[in-house]
Structure formats: structure tokens, C-alpha cells
Amino acid sequence: MDTLTLDDLSGLPGLLTEEEALIRATARAFVAEQVLPQIADHFERKTFPDELVPELGALGYLGANLTGYGCAGVNMVSYGLMLQEIEYGDSGLRSFVSVQGSLAMYAIHRFGSEEQKQAHLPPMARGQQIGCFGLTEPDHGSDPGGMRTFARTRGNTFVLNGTKAWITNSPVADVAVVWAKLDEDSHKAVRGFIVERGSKGFETPPMKSKMSMRASHTGEIVLSDCVVPKESMLPLSNGLGSPLACLNQARMGIAWGAIGAAKACFESALAYARTRTQFGKPIGSKQLIQDQLVEMALEITKADLMNLHISRLKDAGKVTPQQVSMCKKNSVAQALRIARMARAIHGANGISLEYCPVRHMLNLESVYTYEGTNEVHSLIIGQGLTGFSAF
């Protein structure tokens, strides 16, 4: 009997334009050829496939949904489909693409001066300049408004002091978008600054002992009397709302991405269940295993359709932050559940990097926490429903 695929269940291909379908197919081919054969090895050795960066640039994947400055200007649905294929490969590589495009490039595109855009966006789109986005601090994660990084005016310069932690790409970044408070300690005083590698007092030590996102660079940004010219400030950034707008931009893509990891886990579990024999029969012939596979397929289908619907709203300019929060929260929480179920279906093999679930499962623990933790998204949606802020 011919068996069904996830696309058969969701009917997703029928809801895409010809272009969106082509973007999906191309990203899939890229991941199959260049990512899947090597990624488990990078994860094990805790290295990042640096040589893929120019390739990501050439394919137009960096800042793909921005317009002008060498960016492709695709819609949210196309962008999401592309990220889903990349995260089918690995969440670390997808994190690179998200941080470069939706956080660092987006911040410059939206809040930067024309000179800043000209100087940074085209080389960042080509992958010749790597960017990072420094908001989180060791003592201020979910509550970034409490940040203790300050930018004090001194003549024609700003002097930056503070430490950012858990910053994707920071150890290899050529430019960092750093969020800091101007002289006073309030949400309103938050501004973005472009700090270039080589600035005095700018260091980016890597985070140690990571058991998740091992195929991704994660580091600190340590600013000790780091002097940058006045023109490094993003002139249109204005208050905590500015970095939060960047996060909101990235979150929709992360929702799509996480389901890519879930799909990889599901497909691996399905193939394993159909061939692994115990008690004389494939384990996939057992009701308990089928029930788990069905549960996984159902959640993937629901998430895909919800992400598609909300992304169409975003493309029409009608999306709300609560809707984006629903997608991030649902997709990542379900992807993590699916990865754990898939891990278990593989038995002992499930803890080996020979199969993808354990790698995705470990990676998704980070995705669960970054870009607004699972709980923070409940608070956002909860406030929308009840009118009470529970932060």
C-alpha cells in the first residue's frame, strides 16, 4: 500500500503559490545536499559549518524578507517555508539565518540611517559580514528592560559598558547590534548601537559547556569602556519597544523552523517504526506506537496550518503580537514533545547522533527558551485575553 506523507495529511502544497513551492523545494534540495550529510558531525564536535555562510548569502536566505539593499524581499510564507527546511537540517543553522536576517539586519533596516544601511545590509545579505544581536544579559533575560548596559555620551562618542550573554553568532560576528540605555535607567532610554569587531573594549568569549545548539556559535559580548562614534547609534531606535519589535519579527520564522525539526524527527521515527522488529513484528504495527505517530503527525499538521494562516495575516499587514506568540509557543512546545517521542521510539538508538531526534531534541530546548520563553508567550496571550498583566 502507498503510505501517506505529512503533506498528504495537511494538503499544504495546495495552499502555496508556484513561487512559494519552488522556494520550499530549492531550500529542501540545499539542505539535503549540503547540510544533512555533515551536520551531526558538527554537532558532536561543537563546530559550525562556516563554509555554508557564503552559500546561504548566494541563495538569498539572509535577510530574505527585507526589501532593497540586495535582499530578495520575499513574503512571510516563503521566508517561513525556507526556515522550516533549514531547521529540518539543524536548529543551529536556522538560528544563524534568523539572527543574521530577522534580528541584526532587521534592526539596521528598520532603525538605521541610510549610511548604516548602505554600509552593512548588502554585505550582510551576501554573508560577507556576520551580525549578532545583543539584548539578553546574565541577570536580565525575560525582563530585558532591567538591562545594565549603558551608553554614556563623551564628546563625539558613546562609551559602552556592560555584558550581554547567550548571544548567537557573537564569537564570529563582524558587527554586533547592542542594546543599551542612554544616561538614565528607564525603558524609554533603550537604544541600539552598531559595534564593529576591532573596537577597543569589545570582546566576545564563547559560552562554555553547551549541550544544545552545539552546531552554532553562542557567546557573550563584553563591553568595557568600549568607545564608538556618535554615528553608531541606530537613530530611529527609541525605547525597549525597538528590540522587542525585532524579536516579534523573528518569532514567526522560529515557529515555522521548529516544525521543520519536528518533521525530521517524525520522519525518522516513522521509518524506524516500519522497519524495527520486536516480538516478531515491526513496532509500527503496534497500536501504542501508531498512536504516538498519529499524535505527532496531527500536531505537525495543526502547527503548519496555523503558521500558514497567521503568516498570511502578517503578509496582509493584519497580524497581532498575540497571534505570533501563539505560533511560537505552540510550534516549539509541540516540536519538543515530538522530538522526545521520536527519541523514545528509536529506543537506545534514539540517544545516538546516528539518528536525528536526540540532536533536534537538545536543540529545541534552546528554542523553547529563546525569543520569549514558553511562559513569557503565555503571559503575552494571557494579558490579551484577560486584560491583566501577569509579568
Binding site: 513561487e19 519552488l22 534540495a29 541563495l59 538569498g60 536566505y61
Partner: protein, 261 residues
């Protein structure tokens, strides 16, 4: 250098192909550009990048063929021609070549590049007939291509036991082997730009062809029926110690399969 690349949209061979009432079920399948045609597109784009000019891709087929043409445009082709006419369906190689010849003759061209065969039928007939109809020299199964000047190509073609190095004066037709190059993936910018590139949709009448010259009516080679491939019989399993198993296997190879006879 102006180059014409005929491309065929074929059922993705990775999928299960279903045969219904002697015909291949075409609905609900996904379609791809026949793989050797992708090599042909890549070769054309590389020549264009070197010498300038235009790459025109052509496909004869129903609505879905436009997807393959858009993909070729996204890879970097400049123009597309889609011959979309029910009367052209079920043409034999001769019929397809007649249509493609008319399309090629619409403008000046220096080179036609085809795949060495289609991925679904493995027939390999259309290219040679097209060369014949247009009075062009042809070089088949090309695995290496160099061109220092736009009027001449230096080619390596693959033979049974080795390679043949040839020089070819244009205009001409060449057919690509899949080791000729690594077809590029379409970039997002390419995909977005493809929307704005010209894709002409033509009927047979636009090409001065009558419905009974081509299609099922004009075909001299007619497909009688498709049959699903027979399932292979289950293999034999041998158990026991190595020596015993080896003896059994050797015995069967010699006496049943008779491979040493």
C-alpha cells in the same frame, strides 16, 4: 550567444508511479525538470555568463509545464516559451521535435542544448530528430564543455570505453550528460525576478502547425500500454555457520542460477 534549451517536465521519479488502465496516472503527482535538462540549462547559463546573449527555455506540455519553465527562469534563463495545446499531447519524439523546431526558428539562435534523454521515457529521440529537422550538426552525451570564442565549442563526449574530444562550429545541437556540470539552485532573488520575465504561451496554430501533424494523431510511434513492473520475488535467506551457508550459496549459484555455465 543565443541558446535554446528544450525542457521536459516529468513525474518525480522518487515517487510511486501508478499505472491505471494501461496509462500512467498523471494527476496528484509532483513534477520536476527532467534531470539531464537541468544540466542543459546550467551549461547554457554558463555560456551566457561567459559570452553574453540570451537563454530561451521551451517546454511542450499542459499547464503544469509552466512550473518547470518558471524554475528555469529562476535559475537564470531569460525567456520562456510554453507550447500548451491539447492537440500536442501524446506526440511521439518526431512530433515534439517538429514543434521545437518551429519554436527555435522564431528567432536567431547559435546553439540548442538538450538533455541526453528524458528521465521518464529514457527515449532520447527528440534531440537528434530536432537537429535533423534544423539541419544542424549534433554532439551527444557531452561531459565537458569549453568555449574560448563564441563561434566554437570544445567538447568531451563519453563513449563506451573512453572519451572523444571534439571541436564543434556553431550553430549546432549538443546533448548533456549529467556529469557535465552541477546544476545551480535557484536563489530567492532569482525566484522573485522570474515572475517578471517573459513567458509566452503558444498554440500549435501560432507556430503554423496543424493538429494532425503532431500529437496522438500525427504520431507514428504509438504507446500501446503501460504495465506496472512485476514485484520481485522474495529473496532466499540462509542460516547456519559460515562454511555451511557458503556451500549452500555456491551450490545454488552454480546449479540453479547457473552463473558459471
Amino acid at each position: 550567444m543565443n541558446i535554446v534549451v528544450p525542457i521536459k517536465s516529468v513525474i518525480d521519479v522518487e515517487l510511486n508511479i501508478r499505472v491505471q488502465e494501461g496509462k500512467i496516472a498523471k494527476d496528484g503527482m509532483s513534477y520536476i525538470i527532467s534531470k539531464w535538462d537541468e544540466n542543459a540549462i546550467e551549461a547554457a547559463l554558463q555560456l551566457k555568463e561567459k559570452h553574453g546573449g540570451e537563454v530561451t527555455v521551451v517546454s511542450v506540455g499542459p499547464d503544469r509545464a509552466s512550473e518547470s519553465l518558471r524554475k528555469a527562469l529562476a535559475m537564470g534563463a531569460d525567456k520562456a516559451v510554453h507550447v500548451n495545446d491539447p492537440a500536442a499531447e501524446d506526440s511521439d519524439s518526431f512530433g515534439f521535435a517538429k514543434i521545437l523546431a518551429k519554436v527555435a526558428q522564431r528567432g536567431p539562435f547559435d546553439l540548442i542544448i538538450t538533455g541526453k534523454q528524458a528521465q521518464d521515457t529514457d527515449m532520447g529521440g527528440t534531440g537528434p530528430i530536432l537537429a535533423e529537422l534544423l539541419g544542424l550538426p549534433q554532439v551527444y552525451n557531452v561531459i565537458k564543455l569549453e568555449s574560448d570564442e563564441p563561434s566554437t565549442l570544445k567538447l568531451n563526449r563519453l563513449g563506451h570505453q573512453g572519451q572523444e574530444m571534439v571541436e564543434l562550429k556553431l550553430p549546432a545541437l549538443i546533448a548533456a550528460n549529467d556529469s557535465l556540470n552541477e546544476p545551480r539552485l535557484a536563489s530567492l532573488r532569482g525566484i522573485m525576478a522570474a515572475k517578471k520575465k517573459p513567458l509566452d504561451v503558444l498554440k500549435l496554430a501560432d507556430l503554423g502547425l496543424s493538429p494532425d501533424e503532431v500529437g496522438a494523431k500525427g504520431a507514428r510511434v504509438r504507446t500501446l500500454e503501460f504495465q506496472p513492473p512485476k514485484r520481485r520475488a522474495a529473496g532466499k535467506k540462509f542460516e547456519g555457520d559460515a562454511e555451511e551457508v557458503t556451500r549452500k550459496v555456491m551450490d545454488l549459484l552454480a546449479n540453479e542460477a547457473k552463473i558459471f555455465a
